[in-house]
């Protein structure tokens, strides 16, 4: 099993979620994070140009069976990208997941995803 973590732009959340659901990846966990990367978002405060150190992003966490890794990753790449790709479009991290347990039933492993 894999644990996929994606950092995406805030405004892309809906699109990504909808595409994932269409690809039958229906269980996800999301949260607000702030990121620092190469993206520079210029904000004007009282006439002064300010470059915030940290830009609001959304993190999506998805546990999936190995067979679903590719489709999950591809779906995210496809929908989280702004047009042909802009700085700040984010990252996807994939890790091994040893065990997954459904609290409701106590089921373990692939069927608990």
């Amino acid at each position: 099993m894999k644990l996929i973590t994606a950092i995406i732009p805030e405004e892309k959340l809906d699109e990504v979620r909808e595409a994932l659901i269409e690809a039958e990846i229906e269980r996800i966990t999301v949260l607000r994070v702030s990121g620092h990367g190469r993206q520079q978002e210029i904000v004007v405060q009282r006439g002064k140009k300010v470059v915030p150190n940290l830009i609001p992003k959304v993190q999506i966490t998805i546990a999936c069976n190995d067979a679903f890794e590719d489709i999950t990753v591809d779906t995210i790449i496809r929908t989280a990208r702004h047009g042909g790709g802009e700085v700040g479009d984010g990252k996807i991290f994939v890790q091994d997941l040893n065990e997954c347990i459904r609290i409701r039933t106590g089921e373990r492993g692939g069927q608990a995803i």
Binding site: E10, E11, K12, D14, E15, R32, S34, V43, V44, P52, L54, P56
Partner: protein
């Protein structure tokens, strides 16, 4: 409604008669003036109140954009009213009574020394009325929240105030206005049931239909970002409404106290009723319901505050919440996107109030009406009210659509889907409402 007549004398005096003849000019009543200034201040408080109310109901990404709709009204109409708005509303009939006009009232120049016969400086009256002109377009924003451009909104309200609000205000509240002279004692609209609530409510509906629903509506859930704001906003609106209604007596006397009393009672009844309906239907009395009920009660009593008594206020408050609740259920069936229910609450409540008040008018009013026009009764007055309501609806809807079309065409009204996704706050205003949500 006697205050209107008094005002209007004052106005024609202010606008037409030479002001230097101070011999028999009215004397200032410091008490009435104090209350009018206080009322003006209270109605101003409704604007931040409305910004909180609406601001709390939208999604996190649109909070500032939504609040800015109210604040823009404060800025734009604040200037506009002093420059030409008052002249267009309270100047003597022009264009055959379609609107008022008086060059002297531009920049409020000719009223610089006017004391109205009721003992209030006309400046105070003009500013009080100006606050109504601010809040009315601000109400419309609720119907099209989360999808309009700031630029478009600013243009829209500028035109809307000039071409919809000012004429309506003239018809209803100027002494030579159409509605003011209907029937025995005129169409009853104490503090703006037609001018403010119906006109803005139906304008909202028209806009919502014209601009279309938000992307994802109704499938996607759009949760309020901050219901504490909405509740406090409703509280501030209630507070401000005392100025709105009781101030509309343009006095500080028994009439004023009566208006305040029925306002209080109707608001409380509205809130109670809405919460009861929710409890019965879903077993969940919500804070949004409490806030909505307060609004419904306040809206319904607005046209009626000068003529009904406590019993009538209770009845109207309860009926208003039922009707508004029903209207929102209907909206959900019909599927149009009146985002924050500007029509559902203000339009519906205003119509219910303007018509429903007929059945609860105090005896003394009937006596006066009968004195003027023998045999004047409920049915006759209901016709007058219905005529005023109907005309307001038709006029407001038509003009709103024309203005919306022009704005959409020349400035752009509805934002692009991309902006809608990113949110108004970041995309249009370059800000985020809650820095506290991120590490900073």
């Amino acid at each position: 409604m006697s205050w209107k007549r008094v005002i209007c004398c004052g106005l024609s005096l202010g606008a037409g008669v030479p002001l230097l003849a101070q011999g028999s000019s009215p004397v200032n009543d410091s008490g009435a003036t104090a209350w009018m200034l206080t009322s003006t201040t209270l109605v101003l408080l409704m604007v931040p109140g409305l910004a909180m109310f609406y601001g709390g109901l939208v999604r996190t990404k649109n909070v500032l954009g939504t609040m800015m709709h109210s604040f823009a009204a404060m800025a734009v109409v604040g200037v506009l009213w002093a420059v030409v708005g008052y002249a267009l509303s309270f100047g003597p009939n022009a264009l055959g009574g379609l609107i008022g006009w008086s060059r002297g009232l531009v920049l409020l120049r000719s009223i610089d020394q006017t004391i109205l016969p009721v003992g209030v400086p006309e400046y105070a009256f003009a500013m009080f009325q100006g606050k109504f002109a601010i809040i009315t377009p601000a109400l419309i924003a609720g119907a099209v929240a989360e999808r309009i451009s700031f630029r478009g909104w600013v243009c829209f309200i500028t035109l809307w105030v000039i071409f919809v609000y000012c004429p309506l205000c003239h018809w209803v509240w100027a002494s030579d206005g159409y509605f003011f002279n209907l029937g025995a004692k005129g169409a009853i609209d104490f503090a703006g049931g037609t001018v403010v609530h119906i006109s803005s409510g139906v304008a909202g509906l028209a806009l919502a239909l014209y601009l279309g629903a938000r992307h994802g509506y109704p499938k996607t859930a759009m949760s309020p970002n901050n219901l504490t704001f909405t509740l406090i906003g409703a509280g501030l609106l209630w507070v401000g409404w005392f100025g709105f209604n009781a101030g509309s007596s343009i006095a500080s006397n028994l009439d004023t106290a009566r208006a305040l009393t029925v306002t209080q009672v109707a608001a409380a009844t509205g809130a109670l009723t809405w919460v009861l309906i929710e409890t019965v239907m879903h077993d969940k009395p919500t804070s949004l319901g409490m806030a909505s009920g307060i609004l419904a009660g306040l809206v319904v009593i607005t046209p009626a505050a000068g003529v009904v008594q406590v019993g009538g206020a209770i009845a109207l408050g309860a009926i208003a919440s039922c009707c508004c609740f029903g209207m929102i259920l209907l909206k959900n069936r019909l599927g149009y996107d009146d985002s924050l229910d500007a029509f559902g609450v203000h339009g519906t409540g205003g119509i219910v109030g303007a018509l429903g008040l007929t059945f609860f008018i105090r005896d003394s009013w009937w006596a006066e009406a009968a004195a003027k026009s023998p045999g004047w009764g409920i049915l006759a007055q209901l016709k007058v009210q219905a005529f005023a309501v109907g005309t307001t609806i038709v006029f407001s809807v038509c003009m709103t659509l024309i203005i919306a079309f022009l704005v959409e065409k020349f400035v752009g009204f509805r934002v692009s889907e991309a902006v809608e996704k990113t949110g108004l706050d970041h995309d249009i205003h370059g800000e985020r409402a809650y820095g506290l949500n991120n590490l900073n």
